[in-house]
Amino acid sequence: MKSTPFNPELSRRKFINSLGCLTIGFSLTSTPWASAEPLLAEEKLPGSLQKHPRIDAWLEVLGDGRVRVLTGKMELGQGLRIAIAQVAAEELDLEVEQVEVHLAETGRTPNEGYTAGSGSMENTAMSVRYAAAAARQALLELAAKQWDVSTDRLSMASGRVLWDASKEPLTFAELLNGAQLEQEVKLPVRLKARSEYRYVGKPILRKDIEQMVRAQPFYVQDLRFPGMVHARVVRPPAYEAKLLEFNESTFQAKVPGLLKVVKNGSFLGLITTDEYQAVQGQLLAREHVRWSTPKPLPQGQPLINYLKKLPTSSRTVKEKGAVEVLDKPTKSTWKAEYFKPYQMHGSIGPSCSVALYDGQVLHVWTHTQGVFPLRDALSKMLGMKPESLHVIGVPGSGCYGHNGADDVAADAALLALAYPNKPVRLQWSREEEHAWEPYGSAMWMAAEANLDASGRITHWRYGLWSDSHSTRPGGNAGNLLAARYLEKSFERPSSGYSGGAYRNSEPYYAIPNLKVDSHFFEGPLRVSALRSLGAYGNIFAIESFMDELAHRAQKDPIEFRLMHSEDERSMEVLKKLQEVLRPEKLNANEGIGVAFSRYKNVASYCAVAAKVAVDKKTGDVRLLKMWAVIDAGEVINPDGVKNQTEGGMVQAASWTLKEEVLFDKQHVSSRDWYSYPIFRCGEVPEVEVVVIDRPNEEPLGAGEAAQGPAAAAVVNAIYRACGKRVRHLPVKAAYLK
């Protein structure tokens, strides 16, 4: 821990200066790989690289010959670092172990916004690929100049450039002589030929799993600094409750080790020497504080009925042909309505942050998904210049979207400012994470369609009703929980990013007449981005409805989907799923359901099947097995894609079969793992994932592709097993008896 103000940007410049910084300009002329024709990328640079075109924004050559890759993204457990290391090692002919990946940090790494929406492969891994390829060319040029030889006679291995056996190879560090590659990556960029790949497309083991099993310090929760103190925040009993009175003197007398009480409007925090003192203080504070009683949350009716009465603003997402014929239903018209409740991220490790104000700069260690947007939001909340904030990304427990990570960082920042020169560690409790995180919005969906005599869909009308699916800070202080409770409070922005609600609301099928409308309401609970946003609810509805239509058309569910598919890649995942399922046998009371979607209609293709057994006496559902076939374009690490797809579909099955955030008139009542149960080991199905690698296609994120199809596959399987169509989640035993 540094006691002097620490500015990473300055210290980095100082570091380079002390080595005698050279600005080297290179011409990126061609140097093909020895044996195979390289790929010439000349169309456009990947998104993040366009914003940060300098090579040294992405890559630094270290003194020992290793390469440090800088990314503005975060490791969320998705295996980001290994994929990035594979790509960099590939282009630079390094060993994977020679690549270190530095996660998002303000003042240090490129600003890549949020690590979200399954965009890291498309943007970051591709930016690193291009930057590494450009670095390769530049390093070869330098060696060629030094040896006075043509670059096409040179090769690279393990961080060194080689010529012939008589010449001592030159390391990257020797070639750069203390400088970094400051030039911009320019098109065309020569990429390694795919036939030459050693790492990309292979299931290289993640290095961090060994760190985890060795219990090495890894998570933000593991940070320990000399002199570190512990904090807790005293939450109000309800969203809108205001702090009326806090009896500080009697409270102080009862809490050993109490260093400071921080009170700012209705934000109340305490700082102690030891962590357990803070835990006790947090509980005890409830007896010394009086809050206002705000308007109660809606009670006494099914949530869907309440939501249906809320005012909405609407927009048409897609309109094609004419669907008015559906106004007059006929025998070939089918209608259904679906509902998904509020669901929570349910991170196993509650959010945590450490903050230190050194008098000039506020340092915040956080597991946010976006250090730069968080910095901008903190800057506004605290009235500090962005340059005075140093936000450092450190992995936390898996988040699956916008959980309490940003909020706890804001809490810690407020407390550290009030207690300078000490690192302040704030660990949220289980109850805080459960009761205060922003949930995935409840949604309801209505679908109607006409079939023609051949069983083809002729008309489709679909509406969805939802609250926002993103209230990430995004530079907006009002989206930080604490900011709403400060004396100078920030208003919660009234309408979030409604776009997330209609993600995947347009079916990825050929339907001649179609209309999709999205309706936005403001519901009773705090909401934001949960893995796949609206796609989970929309695909649950669309793919359940497709199954209902297939049944009416008397078609096999996979054949019915194939009949309406125009995209070869859709068809291939469906056919592959069909093949995988062929040998499967069913007992009485068992059923297999399938579903498909292309995530965001532009990303990964994923077809999922679920096999369930339904006990008709008790209504209990046992999920026996899940299969997925995924086409995520070019695969960097097939085991990474598998792991994400397995985990995604099982998590979505847990949402579907068990999960629902409940609330009473005061606040959220799902406050622990008994009141909000999720899958335990005994309920988790067997899994099988087939990855279709398409080396010549763009790589696509795989982290969210299975969420929606998994939900529909489960309810479709229940229908096949017992003939009951579940349209209201979570699946309840009472309905299946």
Binding site: R206, A215, Q216, G349, W673
Partner: protein, 156 residues
């Protein structure tokens, strides 16, 4: 409030001056600076904080440190051999890549070690039962089950 408490962790005795009511977890993490056991719920519901107490996998988030006197506590750190070699269960988790975020991994490994001590050849149902106390939200349980099966094979 504070008192001297002696506990044995990973084969070493530690005399500590602490509030004897402090849950073991906080002492392990903050006083002994161990990272294996993790805070997940503080309610003995999620298993993130599992340690071996005399060889039995137990949550450490509620049990007062003073009640641990005279008991042998092993954490994830204590499974690794002195020469740095991984315990077969730890190694199996690496080989099966049985993690995403890894936050649950401590509870899973500790539970698996206890299970395999009690039952050298667990079938899948026994493995699931042995891991039932530990929650994993990334949903890597199928991999964890494979890792335990692999470790069982190695240990035989």
């Amino acid at each position: 409030m504070e008192a001297d408490v002696t506990i044995e962790v990973n084969g070493k005795k530690h005399m500590l001056r602490v509030d004897p009511a402090t849950p073991l977890l906080y002492v392990l993490r903050n006083q002994l600076e161990l990272n294996g056991p993790k805070y997940g719920c503080g309610l003995e519901q999620c298993g993130s904080c599992m340690v071996l107490m005399d060889g039995v996998a137990m949550p450490s988030c509620r049990v007062p440190v003073e009640s641990m006197q005279g008991r042998a506590i092993t954490t994830l750190e204590g499974l690794t051999r002195a020469d740095g070699a991984l315990h077969p269960v730890q190694q199996a988790f690496v080989n099966e890549q049985a993690a995403q975020c890894g936050y649950c991994l401590n509870g899973m490994v500790i539970s698996a070690v206890a299970l395999l001590q009690a039952n050298k050849k667990p079938d899948e149902a026994a493995i699931r039962e042995g891991l039932q106390r530990v929650l994993c939200r990334c949903s890597v349980q199928p991999r964890v089950i494979r890792a335990v099966q692999r470790a069982a094979g190695t240990l035989q």
